[in-house]
Amino acid sequence: MRGLVFDIAHVLAGTLVLVSFLELYQDRLYALLNVFALHALVLALSVAWQAYIQNAPHLYITASIALVFKAIIIPVSLHRIIVLFGIHREIETVGGVGLTMLAGIGLVALSMVVMLRVTAGDDPLTREDLAFALSVVLLGLLMMVTRRNAVSQVIGFMSIENGLVLAATGAKGMPLVVEISVAFSILVAFIVVGIFLFRIRERFDTVDLRALDRFRGEQG
């Protein structure tokens, strides 16, 4: 039984890393949104499984927050923003999917090396969970670095938060208050970013962030 418990937690956390890679692979916005919804769904499953094995009912609330906010509300509203802006056909120039994925592999290797050194002697379940969580965070950062479109940067930001939640649930003992406040701050951030999207769009007629560089005087 112990083996199966560990295995399922391992597979769910690993799937989250895999879905992060899927996000890096997608270059169309709708597909990216669908993958992000999947990301949140896997996170919800993973947190629910942690709640079950740690006997911690408050984690079920975390799981349902992830499910409702991140798997349903945020993707749907981003979808509407994309429709509103008419940018659904835009293909992003990512600078080579292959290269990005290679960098992603490097980041996963890095987080494995770092986390396994740092947490030596802990419960293997926690160690692996932390290593996976750090990879998800780093992959989200990579996503924000390599994308130019503001909408996909938002998605990268949300993925980072997903990784943090995974780390927090694996570490046993994040209070519910913290979780709820994190969830709401994410929601607030989402609203602020949404408003910013509209402002950028109004001002520059595009959500391509390269347009901002010109106004900072970086391109002559």
Binding site: L4, H10, G14, L18, F21, V97
Partner: protein, 316 residues
């Protein structure tokens, strides 16, 4: 000894008999999804028999290589198919070659197919051959990476040992195996020229890869080429089945009951995977050729990630 030979012979005959049926089944299911009636299940057999009876038309400048090519390709594919456990592991031939040898056999079949495409000197053959080589140069590293992952988990590259290990209770749910499964499915799709990479039913020049190379074959040569394409599809499905769904496989015992269970389970697996393949092909559109490197690059990355995770879990 005689029993071993019979079992091995039975497997070789079984794959030969089932391969066209599987192709027919996939076509039928696809047709049903598109609300067409579709050809009957035994249509591929009829095609093969008819092609066998027709005379061979050769181009004037076709060399001897072009003529022996179909036989070489068919032989290599058939031998490879004989090595994969279908209803029983540890057959007579399986000890003489492992998974890497299997990849080499398929690789040489592909090499001769591409040479045949170039031999006559038509432009389509050249396009097909160059595209096929591009796909191969991406698919084979991915395949080797998957083999490494699986071999590290199972502790062997011998298919019989691997299938026995996967069937034993000591193998748990491992992320590396899940990554290997996804990557192997992606490679299998590319290797068999199925839809996101290549369309097996196309006759539009710009999109052809496999079809462009076999354009010049006719009569019994074409029959053999088509037959080996069906065999290859069956081979990859058997490989996926014996590595990731080895249930029902007769592992050590060879009494008639476990063999019967093995054959029935094998037929069931073919049915399910054929249906899933048809479903997948119906829901997805063909990719541009320039996107193929991304697709197969992703398979390579997954294999790499699987190996990486394996070293992590080892360190516990």
């Amino acid at each position: 000894m005689i029993r071993d030979f019979t079992l091995q012979g039975a497997q070789m005959l079984l794959v030969l008999l089932l391969a066209p049926l599987l192709t027919g089944f996939v076509r039928k299911v696809k047709a049903r999804f598109q609300r067409r009636l579709g050809p009957p299940l035994i249509q591929p057999y009829r095609d093969l028999i008819r092609l066998m009876r027709k005379e061979v038309v050769l181009a004037d400048n076709a060399s001897w290589l072009f003529r022996i090519n179909p036989y070489l390709i068919f032989a290599a594919t058939w031998v490879a198919a004989a090595l994969v456990p279908t209803f029983k592991t540890g057959l007579l031939f399986s000890w003489s070659a492992d998974l890497i040898a299997l990849i080499a056999l398929l690789g040489s079949a592909r090499f001769f197919l591409a040479l045949g495409g170039l031999d006559v000197g038509t432009s389509f053959g050249g396009i097909g051959a160059s595209r096929e080589m591009m796909i191969a140069s991406l698919a084979e590293p991915a395949m080797i990476m998957i083999v490494f992952t699986l071999a590290l988990v199972a502790g062997s590259t011998q298919l019989a040992t691997m299938a026995a290990y996967m069937n034993s209770p000591e193998v748990g749910l491992r992320m590396s195996l899940a990554l290997g499964l996804v990557a192997l499915i992606m490679v299998a799709i590319a290797e068999n020229a199925r839809i996101p990479i290549d369309n097996p039913a196309t006759h539009l020049e710009l999109t052809m890869v496999h079809e462009a190379m076999v354009l010049e074959y006719s009569g019994r040569h074409l029959a053999l080429i088509e037959f080996s394409a069906s065999l290859k599809l069956l081979l990859y499905i058997s490989l996926l089945a014996c590595l990731f769904a080895p249930w029902g496989l007769a592992v050590t015992k060879a009494d008639s009951i476990s063999l019967a269970i093995g054959v029935l389970a094998y037929l069931g697996k073919l049915l399910v995977s054929g249906f899933l393949l048809a479903l997948f092909e119906t829901t997805i559109a063909k990719m541009r050729v320039f996107r193929v490197p991304e697709f197969l690059g992703a398979a390579l990355m997954l294999g790499l990630l699987g190996t990486l995770l394996l070293f992590v879990s080892r360190s516990f």
